[in-house]
Symmetry: C2
Subunit: 195 residues, 2 copies
């Protein structure tokens, strides 16, 4: 199917917030989610649930609900995070929620042990699987998920962890630089460098 190692996929992958209008195959999305379904989870509870949104009207309403929350968030955010957001050109506008051909809403079952951690581990699987399929995404977490939960009729036992807009990248931004592994790793105890 391909010849890229996990490390190569991880290096190549960058976050994508602009998408071509090219259609995305539902089958491809299901393949990526199937990888997630194979992940480990606390007590093997498999707390992940996915709502795949293809309906343009529903995407538009999800965008509107998310932007409502973002406007409030951006009016309140302060300090380093605010500076970082402004320096990167971010705002309350989330057009990618409407422009991406497919959205995947990722939920966790609140009562499962370590449910959030398990689901984010599985999201790591999804990102690599999408990269392998030539598809881009961003792990967008709404500031206020309430309206989105209503829009897709999610039962209250479930937490919206992220929305993944999925499509072919039209994003020309370069990948943000990363620290190397030896800059964030120690040997046997903290501050002892890997030689």
């Amino acid at each position: 199917m391909r010849e890229s190692s996990v490390l190569e996929l991880a290096r190549r992958r960058k976050t994508v917030r602009k998408f071509l209008s090219d259609p995305v195959s539902l089958m491809d999305v299901l393949l990526a989610l199937e990888a997630a379904c194979q992940a480990p989870s606390g007590a093997n509870a498999q707390p992940w649930r996915f709502v795949i949104v293809t309906d343009p009207n529903k995407k538009r309403r999800i965008r509107e609900e998310c932007e409502k929350g973002e406007r409030k968030f951006y009016s309140k955010v302060r300090g380093e995070l605010k500076e970082w957001l402004l320096s990167k050109g971010f705002s309350w506008k989330k057009p990618f929620l409407e422009e991406a051909p497919i959205l995947v809403l990722v939920f966790s079952e609140k009562r499962a042990p370590h449910s959030t951690r398990s689901v984010w581990l599985a999201i790591g699987y999804i990102l690599l699987a999408l990269e392998e399929l030539g598809l881009g995404t961003v792990t967008y977490t709404p500031s206020d998920p309430k309206g989105v939960l209503d829009e897709v009729k999610a039962p209250k036992e479930n937490r919206l962890e992220a929305i993944l807009p999925i499509g072919v990248s039209a994003d020309e931004k370069l990948k943000e630089p990363r620290l190397g592994v030896k800059e964030v790793s120690f040997l046997n105890y903290w501050e002892n460098p890997i030689s």
Copy 2:
């Protein structure tokens, strides 16, 4: 380097709690952690920090500290989780913390935005990279991390997310069964099945 797709790696991978004494190359572990370093994170804060433990004495003390916490946890656990743990043969004993040739302690910087979520996404990358390298692990989360933090001199600004014992599998347990993707996915709204 290989020819397995992400989905194949995800399907093949199972949790490993018993290890051969075969040595593990530090270089291989660094490759897997390098994949993690390429993951996205909230505000690109890259909140992951790793302590790679190779010293047998330190592994033993980490095991002892973890088992102290587990004894307390197992004396208190109740309900469904207790039943599940007993049915799987789990107890407070964690020999894999001493038997695995290498432990990776995974930390998150508490003050980074979405630090726990970001680090668990990166752990997903690590698991797939280890599988590709022929190495097994389990994402073990200590019930009481205090003693381990002291043992590796971790500053209090960091949270211990998981300990990954890494080695060649000697675990004969089969992979726990998983639900299929269509059992956990809906189209456009909750309970609407993927046809």
